[in-house]
Amino acid sequence: MGDFSGADLISDLPQSIIESILTRLPIRDAIRMSILSSKWRYKWTTLTQLVFDEKCVTLTNDGAAVLKSLLNFITRVLFLHQGPIHKFQVWTSYLQSCPDIDQWILFLSRNDIKELALELGEGEWFRVPSCLYKCKKLTRLELFRCELEPPLTFKGFVSLKSLNLHQVLVAPDVIENIICSCPLLESLSLSYFDSLALNIRAPNLKYLYLEGEFKDIWLEDTPLLVDMSVAMYMTDDIAEHFEQSSSCNFVKCLGGVPQLERLSGHIYFSKYLSIGNDPGILPLTYNHLKTIELNQVSFEDMKEILVVLYLITSSPNLVELQISGSSNTPAATDVPDLEFWEKKGPSDCLFKRLKVVKITDMSGVTHEMGFMKFLLGSSPVLEVMSITPCVYVLEAQLNILIELVRFRRASSQAEIVFCSD
């Protein structure tokens, strides 16, 4: 190929732009740029962000071969690389535990690594080497299917802002220590932990995502928490534990989060909150709470309903509410207190900002209807209430509709959308 008459358009752009372009390409393409011209030959080698996935290598049916070529590729890249590496991410289910990964982490620990993300595929979990704990500049750590066992001298990651552990084997006290020894921690995500009783002390924490079998969640020191999402799974152990617990879970969990803006609970979260002493008239107000999402709320359990009510009435600025019922609750043991909702007249409180309500998995039980009636009557600026019945109660749908139509609406603009599919 001959030369082109036009001048080179791109090679002389500042390195920061070149890097900006190269990091937006899949890494294999970025490295291939090195054969374009002599100026481009080593431009990729100073990239500070290396992101790998299975697209880096040719995929065949032979998983072991793919793994081998992937390991090879990544090792070669590291070997050719020059300068600091700030982000290193390997995100593929082909990755298996092997000594190469240890060496990568060692290499990275010597090169100012700031963001490290490793996802391993199914198989043996990777035991993280001790050099990881020496990465002083680490700001983000994400591990899937690994084992963490920091040495006793480990004092925490002083710069860590984001921690995401998914299917990670780590002793409970160790995880608590890690959390509280990372003073700058802003985002914490723990998923698929078994029977963990968690005590979180993270003064800068803003985002919390928990999913797994938690025995206990105590947000001891999280004053700046803004966004919280908890999915609690249940096992028999935990159910027992719940029964025996005497502390007020609501306060433990939501007692110290005045800045909360978004709350999302799944599966057994509302049940968890309902356990323990009745919070009574606690001066808890969530002035910033705008979105509440509570799933799998059992409307046959009075306690859970009280929790929901308490929550929404303590959030004067609530804008969006999503509730989903629990379709597999056992049959109610008590006769539902029909007077309950009559007592909670609209004069009790008004949801002055509530605009959107979504109720799903409705079975049409008494308390669900009562709840809806209550909401409709107390939301003067409501715009949309959408109701999706549970798929198992096709027959009851008509009844639900009939009742619904009767409810008084405080908001003249309220649209009621009934989704039956």
């Binding site: 372009i21 899949p26 054969i35």
Partner: protein, 363 residues
């Protein structure tokens, strides 16, 4: 100059005139233009200039923009700023605008990226970088070169290095080839001298060698001899010679315009460093071939007797000397040498006689 109020004097008292303030900007070609203040302030660099130096308030004190910002591109950038600094635009609106905005030819896009960087307008730099990355992604190297007018100035070896990590010393490779050639020659001579059973083996060997040379372009072992385990990669542009008994001739190779090597393409290595750039040339370090070479692959000499070895050594030294001298003179030398010495790579025919290769693209 630009007054929004055109009204009669009577109305003056009632309506307040909108006086916008303007910033004066000067591009590298000397032309000066004025821009609404809020639009100009969207660019951090301009903003800083105004705040720190107080420039820009009048024509005489126009802010000088970086060299990369020419008037046409400045116009584009200001359009961008004007749109985005207007409050109240939804995210969707902004995205739609952005998508339309970056639809332009590649040259402009590159200029825009550079200019945006000069003005430190990070959102625009991100936008243009993304667009450039999208352009690059999925293209073949040739296509990328064409799009961005990049010169194809890497040698074949260099193109492979980043991904393949060739660790061979090219001088050793060259030497191997020299020895291989010499050995063949000597073998042929020996064959003529003594007709033995060995002959057959020798014959096979030369065919194998030829085959492997020819097939070398497929990325297979270049190794001319079965013992040589070193792998070399040859690329398609190598001109491969063959004798007529070879049927595995790969035609997907371009032929080099210069009179070229027989088996070795050695002259390719010589080409390096010449001003008339041969894009198919081998790694440039081959040109710095010194006469003191460490020969690594020792088993090459196995079959040769000492006398032959000496001759070989002499030849190599000679050859090395040639490599270090200038190409044009060398070329003359080689051409003029003709039959008397045979440093010119030759083609081997079956009957062992040599014929110099002068025409291209021929078998």
């Amino acid at each position: 100059m630009h007054c929004h109020c055109q009204m009669s004097e009577g109305a003056m008292a009632v309506v307040k005139p909108e006086m916008k303030s303007y910033i004066w900007l000067q591009t590298v070609d000397g032309s000066i233009q004025q821009v609404e203040e809020e639009v100009a302030m969207f660019c951090p660099m301009i903003c800083r200039e105004i705040l720190q130096t107080g420039m820009g308030s009048s024509k005489n004190y126009a802010i000088s923009l970086p060299q990369r910002v020419n008037p046409a591109i400045l116009g584009l950038i200001l359009d961008y700023c004007r749109f985005h600094q207007t409050p109240g635009r939804s995210i969707k609106e902004r995205k739609t605008f952005d998508e339309k905005f970056i639809r332009m030819d590649t040259k402009r896009l590159c200029e825009l990226t550079s200019a945006a960087d000069g003005l430190q307008l990070k959102p625009l730099v991100d936008l243009t970088s993304r667009a450039l990355a999208r352009i690059i992604e999925g293209k073949t190297p040739e296509e990328i070169r064409e799009t961005f007018h990049l010169p194809d100035d890497l040698t074949e070896e260099e193109k492979l290095e980043p991904l393949r990590n060739i660790t061979d010393d090219p001088r050793i490779r060259l030497l191997n080839r020299l020895y291989a050639r010499k050995r063949k020659e000597l073998k042929e001579r020996q064959k003529l001298k003594n007709v033995e059973v060995e002959e057959e083996r020798v014959d096979e060997r030369s065919v194998d060698d030829l085959l492997s040379f020819i097939n070398g372009g497929d990325g297979d072992s270049k190794g001319t001899r079965t013992k040589n385990k070193k792998k070399h990669r040859r690329r398609k542009e190598q001109n491969k010679d063959s004798s007529s008994n070879n049927s595995n001739w790969n035609h997907n190779k371009e032929f080099d315009p210069l009179p070229l090597a027989g088996q070795n393409g050695d002259l390719n290595d010589i080409f390096v460093g010449s001003p008339s750039r041969n894009p198919k040339s081998q790694d440039s370090t081959a040109a710095n071939f010194s006469s003191k070479i460490e020969f690594v692959d020792g088993d090459i000499d196995d079959d040769l007797d000492p006398a032959m070895k000496e001759e070989l050594d002499r030849e190599v030294e000679d050859f090395a000397r040639r490599l270090n001298s200038d190409w044009p003179e060398r070329m003359q030398e080689i051409l003029s040498l003709g039959q008397e010495r045979r440093p010119v790579p030759i083609s081997m025919n079956d009957n062992g006689s040599a014929s110099r290769y002068t025409s291209l693209g021929q078998r």
